[in-house]
């Protein structure tokens, strides 16, 4: 058996799609012009699939901070925090994040993926229980493979099912860690954190919330769903990323647990990876200040979420269950998904195509992520173009169903 033979079915699907000139996983942004526009295939294209929720990748103050840090401290750290030393800026960012959330401890990781894998896989071990939402991100599933803890899945966003599963564990010895996400990346739906937290605490378990898609997006001060649902004082661990709202790359975990810092000498994805370069740390520190200083960006983001979600709903599309920074359009099958995605790109609109097994319930989704920097005109154009394509391909009836919208 050849090295890649086990991937034969996947290889065939990928080859077929590419032969048809459709390659959603190989898009080249020839030139990125702004948070909402790039040149793709030589064409000026509206970006609606970047996770760049507040548009901070081009914020002048963040760019200036990154440039100044590069000039002052060089391009990279060339080593890990424990082996090669921390820069003062790493420590400053950790203090600022801890302060932002009102927690005592913070650790910065080199990616959000590593923050999840490292934190989760280290917190629980043999004899413990890791209880995860069924629709968890790949980084959470990979954490499951890296721990000797027993893994229990509960139905997506279902506190009753979580309650059942924690009850079944009874008084088994061992720590129990419940892991959920504040906002789920495929459908943009929010976790019912108040209920999940109550059930978790009732059974004496710990709660970890991944706020990758909710930092700067949800909560009065942008502190995520834990703030919006009022459980900041009860959640045990918050994990998040710098690669979405904060416009760079990296991850973090915060906690009040007195022994949290032990993770620094036990978590391998933290210990054996080069730390983030000065430019990244500087732009993230500045982006965190912008999140706090400019709540109007969050308001604009939600205005845009409403515009796109309502626009799609009025056009007759089937969408994710609630409004969120990700708006997902349901399509009937993978072939239709590929055709719609390609037609959108040919018309100068870039979105993400999500197909099974990465999607809940084997659905095919056009995943649109909204940016505060989108204009009303851009979003209206996206609704018009997608509606036209959907009618052309028979996904929507020829006449828009305005009267039956969102039904």
């Amino acid at each position: 058996m050849g090295l890649f033979d086990r991937h034969a079915a996947l290889a065939e699907r990928y080859r077929t799609a590419r032969q048809a000139g459709i390659d959603p996983v190989g898009v080249e942004m020839q030139r990125v012009l702004s948070p909402t526009e790039a040149i793709i295939n030589g064409k000026r294209t509206i970006l609606v699939g970047t996770n760049n929720y507040l548009g901070l990748t081009f914020d002048k103050s963040c760019i200036d901070a990154a440039v100044a840090a590069t000039i002052a401290e060089g391009t990279g750290t060339t080593g890990s925090r424990i082996a090669n030393g921390s820069y003062s800026e790493h420590e400053a960012l950790e203090r600022e994040l801890a302060q932002f959330f009102g927690f005592r401890h913070c650790m910065v990781f080199s990616t959000g993926f590593q923050a999840n894998v490292g934190t989760i896989a280290t917190l629980v071990g043999e004899g413990d229980y890791l209880v995860i939402d069924a629709d968890s991100h790949a980084s959470i599933y990979d954490a499951c493979k890296m721990t000797a803890a027993t893994i229990i899945r509960f139905r997506h966003n279902d506190p009753t099912d979580l309650d059942k599963r924690l009850r079944r564990l009874g008084d088994a010895p061992g720590n129990k860690l419940v892991v959920v996400e504040g906002v789920y990346s495929m459908l943009g739906d929010k976790a019912p954190l108040k209920e999940i937290c109550a059930v978790t605490k009732k059974h004496g378990a710990y709660l970890l919330v991944d706020e990758a898609h909710s930092l700067g997006v949800c909560g009065e001060k942008g502190r995520g769903m834990v703030e919006e649902d009022g459980i900041l004082d009860q959640v045990d661990f918050i994990v998040g990323t710098f690669s979405k709202t904060l416009g760079a790359v990296g991850g973090y975990a915060v906690s009040n647990h007195p022994d949290f810092d032990l993770l620094r000498v036990t978590t391998r994805p933290y210990m054996f990876t080069a730390s983030l370069p000065p430019s990244i740390i500087a732009s993230v520190r500045q982006a965190l200040r912008v999140v706090q200083a400019r709540p109007e960006l969050r308001q604009k983001l939600w205005h845009n979420v409403n515009t796109l979600y309502d626009g799609f709903a009025n056009a007759g599309f089937t969408l994710g269950p609630e409004k969120g920074p990700v708006v997902a359009v349901h399509l009937p099958d993978v072939d239709t998904g590929l055709a719609v995605w390609k037609a959108l790109l040919d018309n100068g609109i870039y979105v993400n195509l999500a197909v099974p097994p990465a999607t809940p319930n084997s659905t095919v989704l056009l995943r649109c992520s909204i940016c505060a920097a989108h204009s009303d005109e851009q979003l209206a154009h996206v609704v018009d173009v997608l509606s036209g394509i959907a009618q052309e391909l028979g996904v929507l009836p020829r006449e828009p169903l305005r009267a039956a919208a969102a039904g």
Binding site: A134, I151, I152, R153, K164, R168, P357, N361
Partner: protein, 87 residues
């Protein structure tokens, strides 16, 4: 089929078979030795859905690490049986 299964695990086998019927390849019947992913037209997501239904039916949680090891209907039935009545 052993006596133990006849007295204790028939209901588990029946519940599994009922849920796997729609995924049968042709007329081949589902037996204890049916390999769930190899002998049936079922994808991994449908397997996980079926397992969640069985967990509710028998009020057990089958750990994900255990699910990964289950290949046949017999192994699934035995797993549910052992969790339901710990030794």
């Amino acid at each position: 089929m052993t006596n133990d299964r006849a007295t204790g695990q028939d209901d588990i086998f029946a519940e599994i078979t009922k849920r796997l019927e729609p995924f049968r390849k042709g007329e081949t019947p589902i037996t204890l030795d049916t390999d769930i992913t190899r002998d049936l037209n079922i994808d991994s997501l449908a397997v996980m859905d079926m397992i969640m239904e069985l967990e509710d039916r028998f009020d057990v949680s089958i750990p994900l690490n255990v699910v990964a090891e289950i290949k046949t209907v017999r192994e699934l039935a035995d797993t549910i049986g052992s969790i339901r009545r710990p030794a």
